[in-house]
Chain length 456, copies 2
């Protein structure tokens, strides 16, 4: 209004910028991320998991009040055009619970579910943590068995191993057994949540720190004794990597608690089968100090860390829950499941500089020396692509610039066609690595020539 056209256009110019905690994926990273998602789909499908999808936006009351208060605060929520209170999903578990309740009539139980999708949390950003990130969930719902626990844990081990992310360790804890131990050392059930929160801090504050916190818990009868808490921590921490001795000791401590003994036996079977079959680079061990924050776990829980990045935190975790969908329905559906934090893992692998690239590599550029050669060049490009050779086509006017572009893309070969080549159905082939150029190759023999050079 009133300004000159130039001023107006400057006024309108908007700074290209992203929200804090959000990132762009450049091609190298995005293609690797997509390839990892494909890999997850492949491994999970071979194990009979079925992929589902749910909306990013849900009714606010469907999503809230399920995780912790802290999670609720981080949820992006607002009023939509129709005056409805809506929220963006902050995980894939709560939408899955809603999905199961809504579709229980058509699902075949036990249902093995795969879901891959982005989730959003407005949390304080840290290195390697974003407000938008991808979760890859596997769950088996409708059965409470060691076999189902095994399938989930083994499938996650197979997926992580297929990524080539270096050696990793999966630690198994157990809610019922941990409660049994707390009980044994004088902490009644009513105080277990406080104890779990203390134990969950072990990585950060060490044994002495946790013992200090445990001592401060207010029991109905006073405070826990320091020596008892010290003994509790000794019992919790695996003395060696021998799960048999570890579990024998715990079983003897909880011998009078029938339910705990039964779960120790189940965990014993689980760790045996998992250790027998764990893929190369994958260590599975029992570590009952693995408490996991969320309240809804009711059996085995697990966390997974990269051996080369011990302080980085868990890249894959989950556990058994027996009341996934009870907010939505009367039916009781036991389940077991977990998530890979794909963007978190990607950040870890970037940091370790061991991210296996799946970036597109253009093999060949078909260059056009004169405009009347374009149709023939396009045909060659089509044929090469059909044969699985990644091929670009000269898009800019000058031949020299097409070669420059091929060079910048890192193409191995440049094929050139002009008027003469079109007339006698030939082309020129330049090896960009050696610099060698072959003239007047019959177009018909091009494909076999390139395929031969690819395998040699």
């Amino acid at each position: 209004m009133g300004g000159s056209p130039t001023e107006k256009s400057n006024e309108k110019r908007i700074e290209p910028r992203k929200l804090k905690g959000f990132r762009d994926y450049n091609p190298d990273l995005m293609e690797t991320r997509s390839a990892m998602q494909s890999q997850i789909r492949k491994v999970a499908r071979l194990a009979g998991f079925r992929e589902i999808g749910t909306p990013v936006l849900e009714y606010e009351d469907v999503l809230l009040g399920q995780g912790s208060d802290e999670t609720d605060k981080q949820v992006y929520r607002f009023e939509d055009h129709g005056g409805r209170r809506v929220a963006m999903r902050f995980d894939l578990t709560v939408p899955f619970a809603r999905f199961v309740a809504e579709h229980q009539g058509t699902l075949v139980f036990p249902f093995k579910r795969l879901q891959i999708g982005d989730v959003w949390r407005g949390e304080n950003t840290q290195k390697g943590r974003y407000r938008e990130f991808c979760q890859c969930d596997l769950d088996i719902i409708g059965v409470d068995s060691m076999a189902a626990d095994y399938e989930i844990l083994a499938s996650f081990c197979d997926i992580l191993s297929s990524f080539g992310c270096g050696p990793f360790t999966m630690r198994l804890g157990h809610r019922v057994i941990l409660s049994g131990l707390l009980q044994h050392f004088g902490i009644p059930e009513i105080c277990h949540t406080a104890a779990l929160i203390a134990i969950d801090k072990l990585d950060k504050i060490g044994v002495a720190g946790v013992v200090g916190l445990l001592e401060k818990i207010e029991l109905p009868t006073g405070h826990p004794a320091a020596d008892q808490m010290q003994k509790l921590m000794e019992a919790l921490l695996p003395a060696s990597n021998d799960p048999k001795a570890y579990l024998d000791r715990i079983q003897s401590l909880c011998a009078h608690q029938g339910a705990v003994v039964q779960e120790v036996q189940r965990l014993r079977e689980l760790i045996t089968v998992l250790q027998e079959r764990s893929p190369q680079g994958c260590t599975v061990k029992i570590d009952l100090s693995t408490a996991r924050g969320l309240a809804y776990y009711t059996g085995v829980v697990f966390e997974t860390t990269l051996d080369q990045l011990p302080g980085f935190g868990s890249i894959c975790s989950g556990g058994r829950y027996n009341n996934l969908a009870d907010r939505f329905m009367n039916r009781n559906l036991p389940g077991v499941g977990g998530s890979i934090g794909l963007d978190r893992l990607l950040a870890g692998l970037e940091e370790l500089q061991i991210l296996k690239s799946h970036a597109t590599k253009v093999d060949v550029l078909v260059a056009v020396a004169s405009t009347d050669a374009f149709a023939a060049a396009a045909k060659i490009a089509t044929d090469l692509r059909k044969a699985g050779i990644c091929t670009d086509l000269g898009l800019v006017a000058k031949l020299a610039n097409q070669f420059k572009h091929a060079d910048r893309l890192g193409c191995r070969y440049v094929i050139t066609l002009g008027t003469a080549e079109v007339a006698d159905k030939t082309c020129n082939l330049k090896d960009m690595k050696s610099g060698e150029e072959k003239k007047s190759i019959p177009q018909a023999s091009l494909l076999s020539l390139l395929q031969l050079s690819q395998t040699s």
Copy 2:
């Protein structure tokens, strides 16, 4: 507060429901959708397109004011935890413009971009239209050439053809040529937008309807004459499927407009190469009444319809634009691109009942007759999966229920192991189709037996 525990738990139960205009993807549909996305990645990568990713949430001012006012109204927007005005992306084009402006220093131009992602629009829902839907975009930015136009259109034809979605037709229009014709028939440039809006309604209101609208346009000198508008529509509509005659006629009408003649020549070359190479089932034709709503197109535009669903609307459209990122930067970057509306296409294929299923099919279930056989059963399942055979494992307690589950999943084979089979390293194999059961097969020969039966 004060109610009985039962009342409280009823109070807390939440109805499992979705927002209007949103949908769940059950496994059959989701797996097919994922497979189609993989297919797009495969075809696009072979043609040298590079995949990128951008956030779902952006600053409001980055997204708004780019499409029409109508689009702006549909955008989901709100204030985030930090008091920032944010919006959910309503297409992938505006975020791409921001991406290009932000990363222009590191991108290699011409840049061939692939992006697949969900977008959100709070529009009125109709059959087959959702408020959350997936777009698959291809663009080539940094060059204005017929070759780039060709690459985009040919790649979309290849992708759609690879879906097996039945015969389809891609119609090409052209902004400059259409303007030239309007000019020729007495409509000055200042009134072209009004004319485009009228012509865009051809499908719905027919030639007479459009002529009626055109007559009502207020020119600086009065209103267009009815007979001129009739002649305009006759020139616009292809009399036959012969692009040469069609373009010759237009060229003669606009012979005095140099820029138009040049574009007619370019379109002539484009349609020739496209028609020569168009895959089976794909018709490419020129139809200058293809106007496309959006203001930012500056050259060729296209729309694609399924021949078996003529009234369904376009499933893939786009065009050339020469100022993609000018809101964000001074540099002028010409481009050409388009989108496949994947969920729209899925809805169309569902309606036609020609959706090619990519749903997971479980081949084998390894059943566990006694708990001590679990480890051996798990090992067999691992081996079969490694060999690419989709295998489930008995997860429920009773053998009869495991068989029942295999039946419901439609497994072709059930392998059974009990104590005896573990001892002598054998298993039983039941063909669920013929009912035939083979006893005491050596575990070592299982894989080759199943692979043989798969190929036969």
